[in-house]
Amino acid sequence: MKAFSNFHPLVLFFYFISVLLLTMFTLHPVLLFFSLLGAVLFASMLETPRAVLVSLGFYVPMFLLIAVTNPLFSHNGVTPLFFMNDNPVTLEAILYGAAAAGMVISVMYWCRCYNTVVTSDKFLYLFGKLIPKLSLILSMALRFVPLFKAQVKKISRIQKTMGLYSSESKVDRLRGGFRVFSAIVTWSLENAVDTAASMRARGYGLPGRSNYSIYRFTPRDGAALGILAVLLGGSLWGMKTKVLEFSYYPRVAALSLTPVVLAGYAVVSALMFLPFLIEVKENLVWNYFRSKI
């Protein structure tokens, strides 16, 4: 189930940019918590929960590493825990480090989701409108790269079965690699001749080329974009007016829970959990319909 991915690329792109911006420009623990949780939950819908668990094995140590590094360089804070080389290691600095680590990891998880959701053709669609020629070239390049890789692999393997370029000496291998490479270049050119012919045969070069895309901007996309804009605006307003600000130095601020702040949290969490909620809703609807059959 990838309900969220079905939105128009513009919506998706706008969403990821908003979330990344918000995440990168805040160190507010509540905001970061929402962001991280939203990203992890969404990732576990996109991939298998197992894959996300496995990835935690990478991100948790990374989190610790960043969190521990900060106090080595920052000595501000009213609560020194101990002194290292005559410099205080403070509780505040550790908490600040933890927040920064949370930020980095949220960003990484969001990027992970971005990679699955905004595929190369969606990206090309968005930016190809600006430069149509470039988008075609990119598309052709994207076709060619896997082909090229496969050919390199094939040729090197075949050369090995002829007992060539497989000796232990580095020079020999390097030379072999170079020869394979030059052969591949010829092969690519040869390939390109056919591809060019195939393009010509299908009318490439005729004036008035249009640019097709499989994406359609539906009213649903419009509504989504509107909602996103409102949520982003709200969050930015909250950050700008310091409603959603938080300071670590010299003393960790208390979390204020005034109605305005709570409203701010609500807006940010709505934004961060949106994709996850859409996926969950779609799953429920699906199960509901299935049970009806």
Binding site: L142, M162, V180, L206, S210
Partner: protein
């Protein structure tokens, strides 16, 4: 209505004296399915390319080509691009973009159609060709057959009036090829689309075509219905050469010098034999004795071979047992994905099996050190012979091997000259490997690996992409090599080739080798996985599997009545 009319068309490539096309006259009518055949170099590809203005080769052209009455030079660009569709030989190189949907839309984008219309046409074509299942995929993930279907669909989406195809199935496996031909037939039958097809695998195509054009040396020899052409070929002075690649029924008809209507399909062939060769006094052809087996150490012996590519992928080889005696030509047949190529790689040391053992000439594979295995022992000819060459000329590629093998300069020249002579490539030594035709490329590649002086030759799909004539040459070469004591193992889809070339055949299925048999035994007991000649003659004779078998047995029984 005449779609194409070609008058006195001649063509000469630059720097060449001989005309590739010599006053060709041809008309193609609307709705016709025309198949163009003939031996390599007869000019059929050039003819086809000249019909599509955008692909016309450079050179000197005489005569005229009209499309719907308009001279080709005066055709509107959009008409020329859109109404005349062209599909080329190599499925890979024709793909332009990275996504299937984009590829389908590419031609329509070029024509400048609005988004809505592109969407409708792309959707329609995708569902007609059954592409909707892989509509969102990357083009690089498709199989060869899928790629070629995609190429066809992305031409069809432009709604051409005529479709020109240049050996579209030569790079495909039999299943993909059959599917492709079926699709073409459907397009012709259901949409009335005009089709002009060059093919060398004619077994299925010949019967569904309306017209067969046979070309030789730049001229049109015959241009008539396939049945008539089949009859005419019987009396052709060079019929041995011209008949190669023709359907088995036609070849049997011609081989027996029969009269009457020429059969085209297996069914017709069987009825024809029933009616005209009812004498069954002799029903078997006895196989000659194989060299006594088991006296020498086997060339290859594998025991309990297990292999998989990744730890969490399924096994490809599942306890494979295989014994190939020295001096044999051994063919392994099997469907796509049955593990044929994997098996060859395991034998040639490219894939290491995780269980079981491989012995070559009685010695364990692992105990061949360094490059010892690949010099004087095993040579491997890959499916795609192009990947064997790295140098700008064939000769330089050969020289590299010679110096790697440590031949003296004079010795090297002698060896190369002798092998080139044997493989009929002496004239090609100074050419760029990529400029050779499929068959030539393959022989040159074979020559390169033979310079390694192997005792065991491994061939992966040796008949892929080569025409019937080149196949014939290859068979002779393999038999000559056999005389020199070289053992050959090939994996192939090509039942006809295996039937006439191999000493023993075996089927690879489910990661295991089923029992190996002599070809006559093997193919006459198979029902589907067998040659057309066997299917034609099986009710009449017991073990005839090639056209030659059928003709011989029929003659022994007194010929046709």
């Amino acid at each position: 209505m005449e779609l194409f009319s070609i008058k006195d068309l001649s063509f000469t490539y630059p720097d060449e004296a001989q005309k590739v096309l010599n006053s060709v006259n041809l008309t193609v009518s609307e709705g016709e399915f025309m198949v163009v055949c003939g031996p390599s170099g007869c000019g059929k590809t050039t003819l086809l390319r000249l019909l599509k203005r955008e692909l016309s080769p450079h050179g000197k052209r005489e005569g005229e080509i009209r499309y719907l009455g308009t001279l080709q030079e005066e055709l509107d660009d959009r008409v020329s691009a859109g109404e005349i569709g062209f599909v080329m030989q190599n499925p890979e190189n024709q793909v332009v973009t990275d996504k299937v949907w984009h590829e389908l839309a590419f031609g329509l984008e070029n024509l400048g159609l609005p988004n809505g219309e592109i969407r409708r046409r792309v959707g329609e074509m995708a569902s007609f060709f059954g592409i909707n299942r892989w509509f969102d995929r990357k083009t690089s993930e498709l199989s060869g057959g899928q790629k070629q279907l995609l190429n066809l669909a992305s031409v069809m989406v432009m709604q051409p009036r005529v479709l020109i195809l240049d050996e579209p199935t030569s790079q495909l496996d039999p299943v993909g090829a059959a599917e492709f031909i079926t699709t073409l037939h459907k397009l012709n039958r259901d949409l009335g689309l005009t089709i002009l097809l060059v093919e060398h695998r004619l077994e299925e195509v010949f019967a569904i075509a309306d017209k067969a054009v046979v070309m030789d040396r730049g001229r049109v020899l015959f241009n008539d219905t396939p049945r008539t052409v089949g009859g005419l070929l019987r009396d052709c002075p060079e019929k041995g050469r011209m008949l190669l690649g023709m359907p088995s029924a036609v070849r049997i008809f011609s081989g027996l010098n029969a009269t009457g209507a020429c059969p085209l399909t297996v069914k017709e062939g069987r009825l024809f034999l029933k009616a005209h060769a009812s004498n069954q006094a002799c029903r078997r052809i006895e196989d000659g004795e194989l060299k006594p087996l088991g006296k020498e150490l086997p060339a290859v012996q594998t025991k309990e071979l297990w292999f998989r590519y990744e730890r969490n992928l399924p096994d490809v080889l599942k306890g494979l047992y295989l014994t190939v005696e020295q001096g044999e030509i051994f063919a392994v047949l099997g469907e796509n994905g049955s593990g044929k190529s994997t098996m060859l790689r395991a034998i040639s040391g490219q894939n290491a099996a995780y269980r079981g053992k491989v012995e070559l000439f009685g010695k364990k594979l692992q105990s061949y050190k360094g490059t010892e295995l690949y010099r004087h022992n095993v040579a491997f000819l890959p499916q795609d012979p192009q990947s064997v060459f790295l140098k700008p000329t064939v000769k330089q590629d050969f020289q590299e091997i010679c110096s790697a093998m440590g031949y003296e300069k004079q010795e090297a020249e002698g060896v190369v000259a002798r092998l080139a002579e044997q493989l009929e490539i002496s004239a090609l030594l100074d050419r760029h490997p990529y400029d050779l035709s499929g068959g030539e490329q393959q022989r040159a590649a074979l020559c390169k690996v033979l310079l390694l002086r192997p005792r065991l030759l491994l061939l992966d799909e040796p008949t892929k992409g080569i025409d019937a004539y080149a196949k014939n040459t290859l068979e002779q070469i393999l038999k000559e090599l056999q005389q020199q004591g070289i053992t050959t193992i090939m994996v192939t889809h090509d039942v006809e080739f295996a039937a006439s070339c191999a000493d023993r055949c075996a089927m690879l299925f489910h990661g295991e080798i089923m029992d190996a048999e002599r070809p006559r035994e093997f193919f006459s007991t198979n029902t589907f996985y067998t040659t057309a000649a066997s299917r034609i003659s099986r009710t009449l004779y017991e073990n005839t599997v090639t056209v030659e078998d059928v003709v011989e047995l029929c003659s022994r029984n007194g010929g046709l009545q």
